[in-house]
């Protein structure tokens, strides 16, 4: 309990908040690394997942790959990558991308795949192209699940981005490593609390986003073709 109080005191010290090694700067770096890794992972995983979900082909391959990727220990991968790429941000970002891909991929293909085939056939019947089916029918209906995948990936990445400090002067992980090695446990706990706070903040934002996406697909909207199409078809099915 004393340690906890010390950590709060550490957090309360204004001198720890400003400057090049201050909390504000470190938190911004942390978010930057998280966003960067998620953006790269999403660029890779979302199109692949959507394609797999839409064509219903290659599902077992994707499941196998993402299952294997989930089993990779991030610190081990980071060390290996850093041995090849050198110190700096490349290796941590690569490791975080590998961490984020499985959740994003699973969210994308599971979401698209779960769209009722009758709805998709109906869309095809009214003359939509495959691209239109994906963008106007499947994606809007899959949105809650896709955002769910993003939410899981974000939580993992923001918590693991502490490892960026393993080989670079970046992020909130610096407080953890410095505190651990110099037995400055209040600093270490303060770093952990900051990471937890950041994770909760992102979680709240994404939960809200997921809620909005769910509402858009389930309630009867006044406008929006796909939902209306889905809703009207539900009666016929």
């Amino acid at each position: 309990m004393n340690l906890f109080a010390d950590a709060l005191t550490w957090l309360g010290d204004p001198s720890h908040w400003s400057g090049r090694t201050g909390i504000a700067q470190r938190a911004a770096q942390h978010l930057g690394v998280t966003a960067g890794a998620l953006a790269i992972a999403a660029t890779l995983a979302l199109p692949t997942g959507i394609l797999v979900g839409h064509t219903r082909r290659g599902r077992s391959l994707v499941v196998a790959i993402s299952g294997a990727a989930r089993a990779v220990p991030t610190l081990g991968l980071l060390t290996l990558a850093a041995l090849a790429l050198g110190i700096g941000l490349q290796a941590p970002v690569l490791a975080l991308v590998v961490l984020a891909v499985p959740s994003l991929l699973a969210g994308a293909y599971a979401g698209v795949e779960s769209v009722d085939p009758v709805t998709v056939d109906a869309a095809r019947a009214v003359g939509m192209s495959e691209f239109q089916i994906i963008t106007r029918v499947e994606l809007p209906l899959a949105a809650p699940v896709v955002v769910g995948g993003l939410r899981a990936a974000t939580l993992q990445v923001v918590a693991t981005a502490t490892l960026a400090a393993y080989v670079s002067d970046t992020g909130l992980g610096r407080y953890l490593f410095t505190g651990l090695r110099s037995r400055d446990y209040p600093q270490m706990l303060a770093g952990a609390l900051l990471v937890a706070a950041l994770a909760l903040l992102l979680e709240a934002v994404l939960a809200r986003l997921q809620q909005l996406a769910t509402r858009a697909t389930t309630s009867t909207p006044r406008h929006g073709a796909p939902a209306r199409l889905a809703a009207s078809l539900e009666g016929h099915a």
Binding site: A82, L83, I87, F177
Partner: protein
């Protein structure tokens, strides 16, 4: 509290295991004989949870056994905070230590940095019931290293020579190094050299060596006894101002270690050159050879098994 319980449990387990192996490997009569003999002269030897320290402890153990002493090995105990109280209360009799860090345990504010000053201070700082035997020339301390190419390019031999380098310098090391006395600030105070800092959390391991080779960092902090230095053709910069605390191998002994045993240990310390310690460590790292084998072969090679 938890740690202490675990240490006690481990100690109990080891003791039981030793007792059991003792029963199994020798006939009961001989056992009794040995036990009654050793009651007065059994020497408990401890070691840190650090492979290099364990090898030194094993060397002590085998040399004393060869002399007819009964030895109880309590190896891989852990941090100084865990085992020094056991030495102070007489549960452990002999422990390979390192002069500077040991002195700092009792005198955190000590200004002594160079080997002889540290040893002189240490002798007076040690509490009653314990004593430091002779310190060995072998050291295991932090040092600044550079690549051979970089040392040749700027003609570097000592840390002070870094002042000649006109390019920006970056020091790589564990993150706590940034604020330690031997970090950038200490380097500036002691030698007037400005360096930037880049954290690499592998304690002078392969990532640090890679960063040196890539030129991402020019300076790294690596233990002098680390085989990495020779393997990667790195150059250790001399430290005439004593920026790094001297850390010579020094045996810490209780009164249970008699003069004869102490003489044996002193002979070992004198025979152990800095290169010897590096070579011992290299055998452990490269060949994964067990401490007992490494110790026995070194003792034989140095003709210390009498």
């Amino acid at each position: 509290m938890k740690l202490r319980t675990r240490t006690a449990l481990t100690a109990a387990t080891i003791t039981t295991a030793l007792a059991l192996t003792g029963c199994a490997s020798s006939d009961p009569l001989a056992q009794e004989d040995a036990a009654s003999q050793s009651a007065s002269s059994e020497i408990v030897i401890g070691s840190q949870d650090y492979y290099s320290n364990e090898i030194i402890a094993e060397i002590y153990a085998q040399a004393l056994e060869a002399q007819g002493h009964a030895v109880d090995r309590q190896f891989r105990i852990g941090q100084r905070e865990a085992y020094l109280p056991e030495l102070e209360d007489g549960s452990i009799d002999l422990f390979p230590e390192y002069s500077g860090p040991l002195l700092q345990y009792w005198q955190p504010e000590t200004p002594a940095r160079l080997a002889d000053d540290v040893y002189a201070e240490l002798v007076t700082a040690i509490p009653d019931g314990l004593r430091a035997l002779d310190q060995s020339p072998a050291t295991d301390q932090d040092s600044y290293v550079v690549t051979r190419a970089f040392a040749d390019q700027w003609n570097l031999a000592t840390i002070a020579d870094l002042a000649k380098v006109t390019e920006p310098l970056t020091l790589g090391g564990n993150s706590e190094g940034e604020n330690r006395p031997n970090g950038p600030q200490g380097l500036k105070n002691a030698y007037g050299v400005d360096v930037a800092f880049s954290p690499i959390e592998d304690g002078g391991g392969p990532l640090t060596v890679k960063a040196l080779a890539d030129g991402d960092i020019q300076l790294a902090i690596i233990y002098t006894a680390d085989p990495t230095i020779a393997e990667n053709d790195l150059v250790t910069l001399e430290d005439p101002s004593g920026l790094f605390l001297a850390s010579h191998v020094v045996p810490l002994a209780s009164d249970a270690v008699d003069q004869e045993a102490a003489d044996t240990i002193d002979r070992i310390s004198a025979a152990m050159a800095p290169e010897d310690l590096v070579a011992l460590n290299a055998r452990s790292v490269d060949e994964q050879a067990p401490a007992a084998t490494i110790a026995a072969e070194w003792l034989r090679a140095k003709n210390l098994m009498s």
